[in-house]
């Protein structure tokens, strides 16, 4: 059956590189689907990953146009390096210069589960390497030099991160709330330190009041942070539930810092 090839900007799945353990009809059907899809799209090969299947299977066409079925392939040894212009079905109508090994040795299993090996060079070697990369969740963008990657990314409409969108971001808007709270508490610390050099009781009284307002503000922001952080976390599907631990931890740290500051203020500022 001809399958739809996953193409940019649809993100690749995060599930990949699953070795085939059972050689059954499900596997044979997958191999046939890969062949049909290769023929329909006139391709030189496909990894199962490219049609949305996480099994470690690739099907290629050799120089004579015959199919090679590779199950659980592993690139074992290599010699020499060669740079060629490569194209891949994931990034339609795009080419990029990629450096690969010139000669490779691959071990794999055939559809009967028998161990096989293949020595390849030239175009076939390059295709095998690109397809094995797919089985481990990578596109050829991972094999580009830094400069080539920058050039390539400029040609992509949505940038390269889209291929990995199913993840939990590491920076959040909520971090700005933490920044504001930290700056406020930093100023409060300065206030407490300044109090050590102030003898005017009226001024100290004013300072204590300011510190109380500051503490109330930080507590308010901390409450806002607690709820907003959870809302923001739920928006990103790739974020795990362990985020709540981080959120509670952040809230608790802020409260702890504030308690220490206010205790010091009570002894040194409060009259």
């Amino acid at each position: 059956m001809i399958k739809e090839i996953i193409k940019y900007p649809t993100p690749l799945s995060v599930e990949y590189a699953t070795d085939v353990r059972v050689f059954n009809d499900e596997l044979f059907a997958l191999i046939e689907d890969l062949k049909d899809t290769i023929n329909e799209n006139n391709l030189d090969g496909l990894a199962a990953f490219q049609i949305g299947n996480y099994y470690n299977v690739i099907v290629l066409k050799d120089e004579k146009g015959a199919f090679i079925e590779m199950i659980n392939p592993r690139l074992i040894s290599y010699k020499g390096r060669v740079s060629t212009q490569e194209a891949t079905a994931y990034y339609p109508n795009q080419k990029a210069e990629i450096t690969r090994y010139e000669n490779i040795s691959v071990v794999y299993q055939d559809r009967d589960g028998k161990d096989c090996s293949l020595q390849a060079s030239g175009a076939l070697a390059v295709t095998i390497q690109r397809k094995i990369d797919y089985t481990f969740g990578a596109t050829f963008i991972h094999k580009m030099s830094k400069e080539e990657k920058e050039r390539f990314e400029q040609r992509l409409e949505y940038g390269s991160d889209v291929g990995n969108s199913d993840y939990c971001p590491t920076t959040f808007k909520r971090d700005k709330i933490v920044l504001v709270m930290n700056v406020a508490m930093g100023l409060m610390v300065l206030g407490v330190v300044a109090a050590l050099f102030i003898e005017d009781s009226a001024l100290l009284h004013t300072l204590w009041k300011l510190l109380l307002y500051g503490a109330a503000g930080v507590i308010g922001l901390d409450i806002i942070y607690f709820f907003y952080a959870q809302y923001e976390g739920k928006k990103a599907s790739g974020c795990s539930s362990c985020q709540i631990g981080n959120i509670i931890g952040t809230v608790a740290i802020v409260l702890l810092k504030l308690t220490v500051i206010m205790l010091l203020a009570y002894f040194f500022v409060y009259q």
């Binding site: 995060v14 599930e15 990949y16 590189a17 699953t18 070795d19 353990r21 059972v22 050689f23 996480y54 659980n72 592993r74 690139l75 074992i76 040894s77 040795s105 691959v106 071990v107 161990d115 090996s117 020595q119 990369d133 481990f136 969740g137 990578a138 991972h142 990995n164 199913d166 993840y167 939990c168 971001p169 590491t170 795990s240 539930s241 362990c242």
Partner: protein, 490 residues
């Protein structure tokens, strides 16, 4: 008063003995038999192996710690177990041979009510010709970081290599596994990055060729069949992660390799595709394969029952499914839960000493029939967790009776964390911190990769160094039984 005898004082044995002593109090006796006089925080041996730490910083004397804990300590190695006792007594016992200077070579028997075998591995150097000296010890061709003394030796050889490079002589460094059935790729992985880091620091990186050799079928397998990692928010395979680390540092690699022979300055290897080759080196750190320590077992009549108690590789049989068969039949439930010996219910095995039901990575062999695949890693974290669970079980059996429910700690239900540093500095270098859950993939619970991607992630950065420093001090503090030690997790 009943007696618990713990064989081995490594991460697992020490955890079992110290927790058991704490929970049992003076009601029962806890005895530790270990050939070593010192406890070693093995992960930091990597830093000893490049001269960044001393042996003293990663070890401490066991005797005062056991004295404080009320544990009877014999510096001796266990030779055999008689789980049925002898002709005139039903009391099971172990035979030990002292290794301490004052009693070296003397043998003695110790009776037990419960036995925990936490003897760890025998470093089986002789499995590869030339890797060992023929007498079970490390040979003269390579170095190792498996023990603190080995690591000190490695650091000396490394320093010599640096001096040679400073004098204008190029050096080739070969780091990895010394056999097709090795585990502990992670330690070698960390060591190669520390070597590379130190070469840069010494200003001789351009004079060195650094190469990796391992029995993994892909880079980043780590004996766990690889893992998916969230790195800086992106999900990548440990293969890509490892390959990019190697490529960035100009380190070449040779994988799917069984090191078949080691000579001075040269290794011979066989690859998974059946080809054979040679690799020259000036400095090689090759991890040896592990085997059981060679304990024997005898029945009441004095007949050898080693094959009943131990698996052929010398590790003790526990409540695992050793008849799982082919790769397609492997299940998470094959892995042991209580670590109790199926024949003798008062014996347990913890840490590396228990026999795993099968490997974790995909089993592979060359066309010549040589098995080339990593064996299962059992790092400090699972070893400690298993040791504590076994201590719990044994204490309950001793205090509540033989029907007490055993505590469980399956490697298919526990995670592991690992920090692989490249350097030791507080402000320089990088470290890869990885967590994996579960250690043994559960294909039924997590279809596909067998792991929970939410809890399997990696991060690379300077902070990994700090974590490794913190772990170093934290675990040595805990092992010394300093105040609050029970609060520190395994």
């Amino acid at each position: 008063m009943a007696r618990l005898v713990v064989l081995g004082g490594g991460v697992s044995g020490h955890t079992t003995a110290t927790f058991a002593a704490k929970w049992l109090g003076s009601q029962h006796e806890v005895v530790v038999v270990t050939p070593n006089s010192k406890w070693n925080w093995i992960p930091s041996n990597i830093w000893v192996g490049v001269g960044e730490m001393t042996k003293e910083e990663v070890t401490f004397d066991l005797a005062p710690v056991y004295a404080k804990a009320g544990i009877t300590y014999h510096q001796a190695k266990a030779l055999s177990i008689n789980p049925e006792g002898k002709e005139d007594s039903d009391k099971p016992f172990v035979t030990i041979e002292y290794t301490s200077e004052d009693k070296a070579g003397q043998t003695e028997t110790i009776e037990y009510d419960y036995l925990v075998n936490a003897t760890g591995p025998k470093l089986n150097f002789d499995a590869t010709p030339g890797l060992g000296d023929g007498n079970g010890q490390m040979g003269e061709n390579t170095v190792s970081v498996c023990t603190a003394d080995h690591a000190v030796h490695a650091a000396e050889e490394f320093q010599k290599a640096i001096e040679k490079m400073k004098a204008g002589e190029r050096q080739k460094f070969l780091i990895g596994t010394g056999h097709g059935m090795c585990t502990c790729q992670g330690a070698a992985f960390e060591y190669i990055f520390n070597i590379e880091h130190e070469l840069n620091k010494a200003g001789v990186r351009d004079m060195a060729e650094v190469k990796w050799i391992s029995n993994e079928s892909f880079l980043g397998d780590f004996g766990m069949g690889g893992l998916h990692m969230k790195v800086g928010g992106y999900v990548v395979s440990s293969k890509l992660f490892a390959e990019s680390l190697f490529a960035e540092r100009g380190v070449e690699w040779l994988i799917g390799a069984h090191t078949s022979k080691v000579e001075a300055g040269k290794v011979e290897y066989e690859l998974l595709d059946g080809t054979k080759g040679e690799e020259a080196f000036d400095f090689a750190m090759l991890i040896p394969p592990f085997a059981g320590v060679g304990l024997k077992a005898y029945n009441k009549a004095g007949e050898d029952i080693t094959g009943t108690v131990f698996a052929p590789n010398g590790f003790m049989k526990v409540d695992a499914n050793y008849n799982a068969g082919a790769y397609e039949n492997w299940k998470a439930s094959d892995w042991p839960r209580t670590y109790q010996n199926p024949t003798y219910k008062n014996m347990f095995a913890a840490g590396i000493a228990f026999a795993p039901p099968h490997i974790i990575s995909k089993p592979m062999s060359s066309p010549n029939g040589t098995p080339i695949n990593p064996t299962p890693p059992r790092t400090g974290m699972p070893s400690g967790i298993i040791g504590k669970a076994v201590a719990h079980s044994v204490c309950d059996l001793m205090t509540k009776g033989e029907d007490a429910k055993l505590h469980e700690a399956s490697m298919a239900e526990m995670g592991a964390a690992c920090v692989a540093s490249a350097g030791k500095g507080v402000f320089s270098g990088q470290a890869a911190a990885m967590t994996v859950y579960p250690v043994v993939p559960d294909f039924e619970k997590y279809p596909g990769t067998g792991r929970d991607t939410d809890y399997t992630f990696g991060e690379i950065g300077l902070a990994g160094h700090w974590i490794k420093h913190i772990l170093h001090h934290l675990f040595i503090y805990k092992a010394k039984l300093n105040p609050g030690w029970t609060l520190i997790p395994e």
